[in-house]
């Protein structure tokens, strides 16, 4: 009997060795990626973290590295993100909803969908070139926060459209039919069911897209963002009538990654420390944004049961 079993056992052993080898290869690949990333972050943190202080956030850039700060950069990033969100969210959500709920399912719709997915993969500098031609020169919006917000808005629009569509599609048809069956209109179905039930997914997509936009450098350099800004945009709150001002939209600006790039390109090592510190700030902002996105997704998953 054992003679008969031997070849079977041998066969099993051989296949188990292959199994083991593959899992080892997979683990090593994973470790390689993780360790490299970790080394980069640790290196950045060791150089940059000691430089981070309240003054670093409250100072304008300066030619003395120890006095230089990122005030204009983080305010600029904040303003640009706000503008980006304001133009990309309504457009993206409406477009996604239209494609999923209203558009007839034919080849034209499919062509549009395909192009939106492709649009998400276009190099960001191309968006910068387009924005330079249209927003800066044709529409004469200048090298302003508005131009930057619109540019980044267009850049992340495909991401918002795609995530909106995906979260809308995840709602089972049963729910739509239940709503229509009592005599609801399309808009009522969207307003009372589709939008609320997909808002978790949509919000996640919005935050992910903002965390991508916050790190974008190339398109903003292309439209002519300044690299040395020692002033803040006009305050939105004014002491004279009408007390609110949108002048800040037309102001020149810089953003965190550009500030970082600017410091990195200087020869003095002290400025490189500033760059590392800015990098840490950017990294933390992105991490926080993604963390919020994951939390929202978790909360909504728990709430939505069909």
């Amino acid at each position: 009997m054992s003679n008969q079993r031997d070849p079977i056992l041998k066969n099993i052993r051989r296949r188990k060795v292959v199994d083991f080898l593959f899992s080892l290869a997979g683990l090593l690949s994973l470790l390689f990626a993780l360790v490299t990333l970790l080394a980069l972050v640790v290196d950045l943190a060791v150089t940059g973290v000691p430089r981070i202080s309240a003054e670093f956030f409250m100072n304008f850039p300066s030619r003395f590295p120890e006095k230089a700060g990122i005030l204009s950069a983080w305010v600029g990033s904040l303003c640009v993100m706000l503008t980006t969100a304001c133009c990309a969210i309504p457009l993206g959500v409406a477009a996604g909803l239209y494609l999923e709920e209203y558009a007839p399912k034919n080849w034209i719709t499919q062509l549009i969908e395909l192009n939106i997915i492709n649009l998400a993969g276009i190099p960001s500098i191309t968006f910068g070139l387009m924005a330079l031609g249209i927003f800066v020169y044709k529409l004469e919006l200048g090298q302003s926060i508005l131009t930057a917000g619109l540019t980044l808005g267009l850049l992340v629009l495909p991401i918002i459209i795609v995530t909106t569509r995906e979260s809308v599609r995840a709602i089972p048809n049963l729910i739509r039919e239940a709503s229509y069956a009592v005599g609801a209109s399309k808009w009522q179905t969207i307003r009372y069911h589709i939008l609320p039930y997909s808002s978790g997914g949509i919000l996640t997509g919005v935050i992910i897209s903002l965390s991508r936009a916050i790190g974008e450098t190339a398109p903003l350099i292309t439209i002519g963002a300044l690299t040395f800004v020692a002033f803040l945009p006009t305050s939105p709150v004014q002491s004279v009538f009408p007390f609110v001002s949108l002048q800040w939209l037309k102001d020149p600006f810089t953003v965190l990654p550009i500030q970082m790039f600017n410091w990195l390109s200087r020869p003095q090592a002290e400025f490189h420390v500033n760059a590392a510190a800015t990098g840490i700030v950017l990294l933390l902002m992105t991490l926080v944004l993604n963390g919020v996105a994951i939390y929202i997704r978790y909360r909504f998953r728990k709430k939505m049961k069909w």
């Binding site: 239940a178 229509y180 009592v182 005599g183 939505m304």
Partner: protein, 259 residues
């Protein structure tokens, strides 16, 4: 079943053909739906019974490449609800539906029942509350739901969810209630509960129900229609269909020779 005199007609299906794209799913169907009676649609899977049911509230209009021919005349005002001149929303406001799988909205119990009134633009709070209570009572859910009207509907059991869906359909006082295999996803106890409920409801409302379960049809329906491959083979009083069917295909199905 006590239908001694023939009741009045509530809806009349006349020469109904239905197509999914080029494929004909319903073939020249004609049958009456009697007022305050329960009509069961039976037949093997794929015979078109659910398709026929969904014609009654124009559910097919939600999807492209579907096509009706023929008429469903709603009495007493003799309106053809399949006419392209009638908005499907109007039809759905008049004819309620309960689906195979319980599909409450992930909202509160109260909001689920009130939804039909809300989409009609009813604003009066007292009226909505009154109607919600009445519908939950009719659906036999009041005693279980009254202390948790504002808790999540999806936290209820499957049988409770299905009764909630019935309450949701009843809240707008539909002229006809469509039930699409309402107990096929439920356990035997919930099923018995819903059958009891249906027997109670049909005193005041016309019901059309699709069922897979022949015993259920025999127990609850006044009239039964047997469908096979998109055709209506036989329609008549449930007693007659189950005891002395006139078509051999009906007999074969009823006696369990196929299907």
């Amino acid at each position: 079943m006590g239908a001694v005199t023939t009741p009045s007609i509530r809806a009349d299906v006349k020469n109904l053909n239905f197509f999914y794209g080029p494929k004909q799913v319903l073939k020249n169907i004609s049958m009456p739906i009697y007022e305050n009676r329960m009509t069961a649609l039976i037949g093997p899977s794929g015979c078109g019974k659910t398709t026929l049911l969904r014609c009654f509230n124009r559910m097919h209009d939600l999807y492209a490449t579907t096509n009706y021919q023929g008429q469903i005349i709603l009495h007493p005002n003799m309106q053809n609800i399949l006419s392209s001149e009638i908005d499907p929303m109007e039809v759905r406001m008049r004819i309620g539906m309960v689906f195979q799988k319980p599909n409450p909205f992930p909202k509160s119990i109260f909001e689920n029942v009130a939804y039909g009134l809300r989409v009609r633009g009813v604003k009066k709070k007292s009226f909505i509350e009154e109607r919600v209570v009445k519908s939950l009572q009719q659906a036999g859910l009041w005693s279980e739901a009254k202390d948790r009207l504002h808790s999540h509907a999806t936290d209820m059991s499957g049988g409770q969810q299905q009764r909630l869906c019935i309450a949701r359909a009843l809240a707008t006082e539909p002229e006809i209630l469509l039930l699409d295999e309402p107990t096929s996803a439920l356990d035997p106890i919930s099923t018995a509960h819903i059958e009891e409920l249906i027997t109670e409801l049909k005193k005041d409302i016309t019901i059309l129900m699709v069922t897979h379960n022949l015993h259920q049809a025999a127990r609850t329906a006044d009239y039964t229609a047997y469908m096979y491959l998109g055709e209506l083979i036989e329609f008549g009083l449930t007693d007659k269909i189950f005891t002395t069917p006139s078509d051999t295909r009906t007999e074969n199905y009823i006696t369990g020779r196929f299907g």
